[in-house]
C-alpha cells in the first residue's frame, strides 16, 4: 500500500511516470500548470525529457515526432490551448500514432474564464479537428480515477495506435485527494512498435504519412480507422451505475458533475424517490450499453457543466424512447445537489 495526497494535476504526472512515459511537451495555461511544472521537476530524476514549447501547436507536433519515433509521450492543456492542438491531433489520428492528451477544462468559448467547466465535450468526442477521426476520451471523477485512467490511457493508446484524451476539469485538476499508487490492475506493459520511425538499420525503410492523393487510398485509410473505432466501441465502453437497480428517475452526468449527482441521488432517495445515476467513464466511445435495458426509467435528467452537450448522445442511446431533460450551468458555475433534486421533483420524480 502506498497512498499519497495529490492534486489532480500531479496525479496525472505520477501516473505518466508509472506508465513509463518519459516525454512531455506542453505550454502553460491555467488551470493545468501543475502538470508541466511536475514534469519539469520530476523528469530529470528519471531520465525523462520535458520541453516547454513555444506554443500548443509546437507542443502537439513534438508529441507527433516523439510518438512516431516510438516513445510513450503526452501533452496537456486547457480548453483554448486544446483548440490550438486540434490540427496536430487530427494528424496524429491519421498517422495512427499513440499519445495521451490531458484537457483540464475551463469555461469557453473564446478565452472564456479560468473557472472549471465541461464545455469541451463536443470538441473531445465529435472530432474537434478535421476529418473522420475519433479518440478515446476518459472522464475521471476523482483524483484516484484520474491516476488510474491516465495509466490506462497510455496502454490503450499503444494498443490501438490512437490518441487518448483525459477530459478533466479545473476542479479535478486543482483538488487534492489521497491516491493509492500501487495495486492497480491496469496493465501498462510496453507494446512492441515495429512501425516506429527509428532509422532503417536492419530493415526496409518506413514512412509515416497523412497525405493520400489517390481517393481509393484515402478511403482505405478511413475504412481501417473506422474498423478500429468499431472495435473500440465494442470493447472499451466504461461507466459506473449508482442505485440503478430500481431507479425510475435516471441522472446522467460525467466527471466532477457526476459526484454532485451522487449526492443528489442520496438526497432524493432520502425523500423516497427512486433516483439513480449513470456516469459515463468513457465519453467516446459513449457507453450505450448502460442504456440498453432501462425498462424502469420514466425520466432522464442530464446534468452537465455546459449547455447540454451530452444530451444528444443520451437521446440516441435511448432511441428517444425516454424523455431526456437537461440541467446545467456554464461559465464555471457548479450545479448544486439541492437544485438537482428540485429539478427531479419538478419533472415528476415522486416518492413511491
Amino acid at each position: 500500500m502506498s497512498k499519497k495526497l495529490l492534486k489532480g494535476n500531479e496525479a496525472i504526472g505520477e501516473a505518466a511516470i508509472k506508465a513509463n512515459c518519459r516525454y512531455y511537451f506542453g505550454y502553460p495555461i491555467t488551470p493545468q500548470n501543475e502538470i508541466p511544472e511536475f514534469f519539469a521537476k520530476e523528469f530529470p530524476r528519471v531520465g525523462g525529457v520535458f520541453i516547454q514549447a513555444e506554443s500548443e501547436i509546437a507542443a502537439i507536433n513534438m508529441v507527433y515526432g516523439a510518438a512516431a519515433a516510438g516513445a510513450r509521450v503526452m501533452t496537456s492543456s486547457s480548453s483554448p490551448g486544446i483548440s490550438l492542438k486540434m490540427e496536430g491531433i487530427s494528424y496524429i489520428a491519421a498517422a495512427e500514432l499513440p499519445c495521451v492528451i490531458a484537457n483540464i477544462m475551463r469555461g469557453g468559448p473564446g478565452l472564456g474564464g479560468i473557472q472549471p467547466a465541461q464545455s469541451d465535450y463536443f470538441q473531445a468526442t465529435k472530432g474537434g479537428g478535421h476529418g473522420d477521426y475519433r479518440m478515446i476520451v476518459f472522464s475521471p471523477a476523482s483524483v484516484q480515477e484520474l491516476y488510474n485512467l491516465t495509466k490506462k490511457a497510455f496502454y490503450l493508446a499503444d494498443y490501438y495506435r490512437i490518441p487518448v484524451m483525459i477530459l478533466g476539469d479545473g476542479f479535478l485538476g486543482q483538488m487534492m485527494e489521497s491516491v493509492e499508487m500501487d495495486g492497480q490492475n491496469d496493465t501498462c506493459e510496453p507494446i512492441p512498435k515495429p512501425w516506429a520511425i527509428t532509422g532503417c538499420r536492419g530493415r526496409e525503410k518506413q514512412y509515416i504519412n497523412t497525405l493520400y492523393l489517390v481517393p481509393e487510398e484515402l478511403a482505405e485509410l478511413n475504412d481501417r480507422l473506422q474498423e478500429k473505432y468499431r472495435q473500440i466501441k465494442n470493447s472499451e465502453q466504461a461507466y459506473e451505475e449508482y442505485y440503478m437497480e430500481d431507479a425510475d428517475f435516471v441522472l446522467v452526468s460525467f466527471g466532477i458533475a457526476a459526484r454532485i449527482c451522487k449526492e443528489a441521488v442520496d438526497l432524493a432517495r432520502d425523500k423516497g424517490i427512486r433516483a439513480g445515476l449513470i456516469r459515463p467513464i468513457t465519453l467516446w466511445p459513449f457507453p450505450e450499453k448502460a442504456f440498453a435495458d432501462l425498462t424502469r426509467a420514466k425520466n432522464i435528467l442530464n446534468v452537465e457543466m455546459n449547455a447540454g452537450q451530452m444530451v444528444e448522445d443520451v437521446k440516441l442511446a435511448v432511441s428517444c424512447k425516454i424523455p431526456v431533460h437537461f440541467y446545467g450551468c456554464t461559465g464555471g458555475l457548479l450545479p448544486s445537489s439541492k437544485e438537482i433534486v428540485n429539478r427531479i421533483e419538478m419533472l415528476g420524480g415522486t416518492p413511491k
Partner: protein, 248 residues
Amino acid sequence: MSVILKKPLSLTDKKFHYCPGCTHGVIHRLIAEIIDEYDIREQTIGIAPVGCSVFLDWYFNFDIIQAAHGRAPAVATGVKRVLTENVVFTYQGDGDLASIGIAELIHAAARGENITIVFINNACYGMTGGQMAPTTLEKQITTTTPYGRDHKTSGSPFFVPELLTNMHGVGFLSRRAINNPKNIVRTKKSLKTAFKVQMEGLGFSLVEILSICPVNWGMDPQKSMQWLEDNIIPHYPLGDIKMPDFDV
C-alpha cells in the same frame, strides 16, 4: 570498366514528379550523396514538409515522417529528443518554413536543437500555384501579388538565416544557390557542413538554397536561372553566415 559515378544508395529508383527544370531533384541528389558519403543512411530520419516536396519518401531510401504545414522543426525536435543518436533533418520550402512555420523554426533554433534544416527558397508557393511567399521579392509578380509585391500592403522579403545568427545554440548557417555547377558544389559543401555539425553535436544547422520555380514563374528553365541570377541572388547574399571551427 570501373564505375566512377552512380546513383546514391540513399535515392530510390522512382522518377522525380517535379516539373521540368525544377531544382528539387538536384538538391535531393546532393543530400543523398552526403548521406552516402557519411554512411549514415540507416540512422537518418527525414521530415517532409507540406509543399511540392511532401513526398520525400518516394525519393529517399531511408525513414521519413511527413509533418503538418510548417511544423517540421517541432516534429524533428520530438524525434531527435527520443532518438538522440540518429541524424534528423527537415526539408522545407519558403511558405512552409518562413510563413506558417516561422515560430517552430525560430524556437527550434533558440533551443539549439541538434537538427539540420534544408530550406528551399524559390520566392513563391510552388504546390498551390505560385502565390506570394514571405521571400517573394518586391515588385515580383505572383498570383496573389498580380501587380507586383508592394511592401506597403504585402510586406518585404526577409532574410531567414540572418534572423538566427545571434542564437547561442545555432552551429551553422549558410545561404547557397543552385544556378551553376560552381554554386552546386558550394551548396553541397554547406549541406555537408550542416550534417557534420549535427553529427558532432554542435547544435542547430540551416542551409538556405536559392532555387527556381519555372512553371509558377512563367519562364522556361533557362530564363528562370537567369532571373535567379539577376534578381534573387543579388537580393539574398550567398555565403556561410555562421561557421563552426572545422572544415569538411
